[in-house]
């Protein structure tokens, strides 16, 4: 059994910087979509909420072919809203903590399992990764806690777009997720191997990393 009952997978965005003209969760690495990797990893979680927007019909068809009992949550304003507002479309209905994941991330199964085990001890948990990307948000870590988010590219760890959060942390505001979490710092940090795919070089890195099973950086 999973220690969390709800996962919110955000897959509404356009992913314009990658420029593939398709939703990033449908992008394939080694013949499998990012969404397929996520859903397999999350197969023990009772409630999967998938927030869709850009190319929603394609994303819905693909998602349902992988797992029939997903709760598709629509964000028709995807072009004008951000990930925080996508998460809010689900979190406003929840009364307990949940796992939030950006669907455009690649994640190492082994460290993700450890993260989920740590969720049995910590109420809230922020996943951080030393697989850093050009436009990533870095985190300052002290005593295993995230104490600051910044964009200065100096701290060795990056916010991975994966966290266990409480509904009270999510607001319907046009700001980044890390900005909404800042008032709640310090929050427990957990190191995993993961990064999000924003650019073609991130996609290249994802192919290399998965081919080598996370043995290279």
């Amino acid at each position: 059994m999973s220690p969390v009952k709800h996962v919110v997978l955000s897959a509404a965005g356009i992913g314009s910087r990658l420029g593939l003209g398709r939703s990033k969760c449908l992008v394939e690495i080694h013949n499998r979509s990012l969404l397929s990797y996520h859903l397999e990893r999350l197969k023990d979680v009772e409630n999967i909420w998938l927030v869709v927007g850009y190319q929603e019909d394609e994303v819905i068809e693909h998602a349902i072919s992988l797992r029939n009992d997903i709760i598709i949550t629509r964000n028709p304003e995807y072009a004008k809203t951000n990930t925080l507002q996508s998460i809010f479309k689900v979190s406003r209905h929840l009364k307990e903590r949940f796992l939030a994941i950006d669907a455009d991330t690649v994640v190492d199964n082994k460290t993700f399992s450890a993260f989920m085990q740590a969720a049995a001890i910590h109420e809230y948990l922020i996943a951080v990764s030393d697989y850093t990307t050009a436009e990533g948000v870095r985190v300052k870590i002290q005593n295993d806690h995230v104490t600051e988010f910044n964009r200065e590219n100096q701290d060795p760890y990056e916010w991975a777009g994966i966290a266990i959060l409480g509904p009270e942390m999510v607001i319907d505001k046009s700001i980044f997720v890390y900005q909404a979490l800042t008032p709640f710092l310090p929050l427990p940090a957990f190191k995993i191997n993961a990064f999000d795919i924003d650019t073609t070089s991130d996609l290249d890195m994802a192919r290399h990393v998965l081919a080598s099973n996370w043995k290279t950086t």
């Binding site: 009772e46 409630n47 819905i60 029939n68 009992d69 709760i71 598709i72 949550t73 629509r74 009364k95």
Partner: protein
Amino acid sequence: MATCFCFDLDGTLTKQELLPLIAASVDLEDEISVLTKATIDGFLPFDKSFKLRIRLLKDAPLNAIHQFVCNVECDEAILRFVQQNAADCYVVTGNLDIWVQPLLEQIGVEFFASKAKMDNGQLAGVEHVLHKGDAITELRQRYDNIIVIGEGMNDVPMFELADWRIAYGGVHRPNGSLKELSDFVVYDGEALCRLLNMLS
């Protein structure tokens, strides 16, 4: 906050469409399916098509229809939810009251349906085709949180007035226009019921 749940009947609560089932009982399946398709494809408005279909089926013996309708397979999870929350669940169906009444009484759920015109105990036509938005307007006097679940074009007026809208694809893909109006799209009865519990 008082919450109620409004379910479409054909293809949402029931796993089969009722009209083709009724048509089959009098060997008019092909004729009815042509009209149904013309409606789905937008060639014939729902009201007209429905009245026409009723004209074709009005001689079908009521007892036989009830037998067919009462034996229709329902989605087990949704049926359980409706029965457990019967006080605040409603079936909102464009189908004819005299046809669906025994099934819905058997389930134990209140309903809104189209009204049959009767003549000496015989079905003579349609007195009133239910506009599903009217059901929501009526329920609005009692409920401030109205959750609707449907799959077809005739559920659109109900979606336009509700607080939370769920397009349901458990039986077939939900209508595209309806999906565009929805907050959630769900393809599994159990998942639907988990969602309903969280919205209430």
